[in-house]
């Protein structure tokens, strides 16, 4: 989703920018499980391009399982994509007005290289931060999206455990997801160093 953010940042306040930021705000507002339903109605029921609800076992049919994962992944990913688009946009706007961009321009570097190689790289730090936060949202959203697509994952496990009052399983799932979030945040913190050598 970075390209859309870069596109929007070219002319802040321009027509493309306003269109894309509105679209991104709309993307954030759509409940992911409802998006999943709409994708099922359109692509599984009407067009028949993808299998409907009911997961395919990864061991039996790896390709089929991947195929079946397209719709849930889309449903789950859109919100994050919209959020990242907004982050890239604001970071790019800031970077494109920075001194080093003017220097590059004075040196005669082509616009494309300035935008994609230099400004985008410097905009990646806030994107890393937001990606770390998104993981937490993704894990939470997966619970409901799994219910929509009938996938037996952590989400359906915790819902089932709740209905059976299986407290130990619930505790385990809650702790495990917290661990996933913590691990991702650790990776994000490490990646800061790689993205910006000035950070020690």
């Amino acid at each position: 989703m970075s390209p859309t953010g870069v596109g929007a940042a070219q002319r802040p306040g321009g027509r493309l920018d306003r269109l894309l930021t509105t679209a991104a705000t709309a993307g954030i507002a759509i409940p992911n499980f409802w998006l999943g339903m709409m994708l099922i109605v359109l692509f599984a029921v009407q067009l028949g391009w993808f299998p409907g609800p009911g997961g395919v076992d990864l061991g039996e049919d790896p390709l089929g399982a991947l195929h079946a994962l397209v719709l849930p992944a889309l449903a789950l990913g859109l919100v994050g994509a919209a959020e990242i688009c907004r982050q890239v946009r604001s970071a790019m706007i800031e970077n494109l007005s920075a001194d080093y961009v003017r220097t590059h321009r004075a040196m005669g570097l082509p616009h494309r290289s300035i935008v994609w190689r230099h400004a985008l790289k410097n905009s990646s730090l806030p994107v890393a931060t937001i990606t770390g936060i998104q993981v937490s949202h993704l894990v939470g959203g997966a619970v409901v999206v799994e219910a929509v697509f009938g996938i037996s994952g952590l989400g359906s496990l915790v819902v089932e455990a709740t209905n059976q009052r299986d407290y130990v399983v619930i505790q385990a799932v809650v702790l495990l997801t917290a661990l996933i979030v913590l691990a991702t945040n650790l990776i994000v913190d490490i990646s800061y160093r790689l993205l910006d050598p000035r950070i020690t």
Partner: protein, 281 residues
Amino acid sequence: MSVTLSRAVRTTPRRPAVVWFSYAVLAVVAVVVLLADLLAPHAPNEQNLTAILQSPSWQHPLGTDDLGRDVLSRMIHGTRVSILAAAWAVGIAVVVGFPLGVLTGYVRGVTDAAVMRVLDALMAFPALVLAIGITAMLGPDIMTAMTAVGVVLTPVIVRLARAQTMAITQQTYIEAARSFGARGARRMIIPHVVPNVVQPIVAQVAVLAGFALIAEASLSFVQLGVQPPTASWGTVLARSYTFLELAPWSTVVPGAAIALTVFSLNILGEEIQRMLDPRRR
């Protein structure tokens, strides 16, 4: 600081159409919440087993569900339930989070460190998963579910209020007030600090309300929130999903209602923030 706000409103350039659209959506939602009983053509739980899963018609503008209940009426009554549920969650977050944030930001030191470590731990849990965990412990019920959501949202308010308080207390006028002997909650925090912390919180509340709405729908969808037969956006959506292939239209409206309302709340939040941002005036 109320002067700043009114001046900002007056000199703000023409608002884009999308902002007016959002205000209109929120106004419609507010009217529906207030006048649900007058607007709904049928009782929300009135069953008619001779007219199940009907397509939209004049009598049932959004069709009927698998028990012959009017989907439009259920949506209208569900709006009230969903909005109140979201308001409850955000209310808890503000009532607990705001004083805590101002206090930790003002006092700092050990209190601040202790409270922030607890909140850091709380924030490590994915919001929805933790809400499910809390709901599971206390039993599935909309009040406990939304209380759990409120607990999950609290750290957001605390952090914002704390950061704002810390920034405010560095200002010269606070120093001046202190030099006049203003101390404590009644002389210092309430008259001088709180008014300047409120504004960014208001913008955040709009955004959090959107999150709480989605949380209500999500939790109700997996049957941990609003319990059937009570109508809410989440339960209407959950019910209509079970007959998705027979009546796909009845899943469109509840979801679109959620998406539109959350979108409008986010735009409202952005607008408030824009009005308060002195650089964009």
